[in-house]
């Protein structure tokens, strides 16, 4: 609520209905997607590398395996540290008049959206999100 006090000012007759925080596991699905994308991009280089040294295929495969494990471990450690601060910087406040979406991570971003301006509501859940019961709710307005 420290975040809310500093960056959000409520209207005189406005009532807060709930304060929602982003869940920490939600960042991991993004990490997994990034790793998968990086792996796919790198796939062709690995393929060519294996063909070039097909005589030493076991050695090459193990070198690549160690490299992939090291990269994944590095990304996970980095994201565990940075991701914690990123997730903690999110706060969502639905009031009886509007929704306030606040993000403080390096920069500060505050979005306020009146219910009357919402045109679409999109709910999105990935497989991990379904398992751990969290998800994204995207309220769309003519502003974007």
């Amino acid at each position: 609520m420290e975040l809310a006090r500093k960056y959000v000012s409520l209207l005189p007759d406005e009532r807060i209905l709930a304060t929602l925080r982003r869940r920490y596991p939600s960042i991991f699905s993004s990490i997994l997607s990034t790793i998968a994308a990086a792996f796919l991009i790198y796939w062709w280089s690995m393929f060519r590398y294996i063909i070039q040294y097909s005589g030493l295929i076991t050695e090459v495969l193990f070198t690549l395996l160690y490299a992939v494990i090291a990269i994944i471990a590095f990304i996970f450690i980095l994201m565990a540290l940075v991701g914690y601060l990123y997730v903690e910087g999110h706060l969502y406040i639905p009031t009886d008049k509007r929704i306030i979406l606040l993000r403080k991570f390096i920069t500060v971003s505050v979005r306020e959206l009146a219910y009357s301006e919402i045109t679409d509501i999109i709910v999105s859940q990935g497989p991990l999100a379904r398992w751990l019961n969290y998800g994204s709710i995207i309220p769309l307005s003519p502003g974007g």
């Binding site: 045109t119 679409d120 999105s124 379904r130 998800g135 974007g144």
Partner: protein, 183 residues
């Protein structure tokens, strides 16, 4: 499109919550052919690329193409058509007297909700196969949806009798708009 109430309730996924004063008017499903057409075109393109690659690959590396050919010509069609069936079955479009709920459950969940009073345009799209089998895509457009990608990402896709669906939505939009104007 004539469903009895029990059929409608049975067809609504548990993730969709209907308000007590809300009336379900239609529950629509996606037509498998709408997916199969796109999947077949994709597979034909991929088969074509694989054949070209097989002929252009230097002879010393041609052995690499064998497992790729097995995958592309035998495994991939089974995966595409088999998983596609589950993908299509995961689609539900619920039209109530207040809103349209477009729901897709396949690995993850994606749900778009739009109230009738926010709809600005309705687009119906039918390809040649769609015209033949009488299915199509009905896209309810709102001011918040960025065109054309917004409409393509989540619409009422591959439903039977798309013009009937369009007419039903247009009628609801008109009713809501006139109620608002009176109020």
């Amino acid at each position: 499109m004539g469903f009895s109430l029990s059929e409608r309730q049975a067809n609504i996924p548990r993730e969709i919550v209907i308000a007590p004063n809300e009336k379900v008017l239609m529950v629509l499903e996606r037509h498998y052919i709408s997916y199969a057409t796109i999947a077949t075109v994709g597979l034909i393109v991929l088969w074509f690329i694989t054949v070209i690659a097989s002929f252009t690959m230097p002879s010393e590396f041609r052995w690499i193409m064998f497992p790729i050919q097995i995958f592309v010509f035998l495994v991939l069609p089974v995966l595409v058509y088999g998983l596609g069936y589950l993908y299509v079955k995961g689609h539900r479009y619920v039209i109530t007297n207040e809103r349209i709920i477009m729901f897709r459950k396949f690995i993850g969940i994606l749900m778009r909700t739009v109230t009738h009073d926010k709809i600005t345009d309705i687009i119906v799209n039918q390809g040649p196969i769609g015209r033949l089998f009488n299915y199509g895509r009905v896209s309810p457009i709102t001011a918040g949806m960025i065109m054309p990608m917004g409409a393509a990402i989540f619409s009422i896709s591959g439903v039977k009798n798309p013009y009937e669906v369009r007419d039903a939505i247009a009628k609801l939009v008109k009713e809501i708009t006139s109620k608002k104007a009176e109020g």
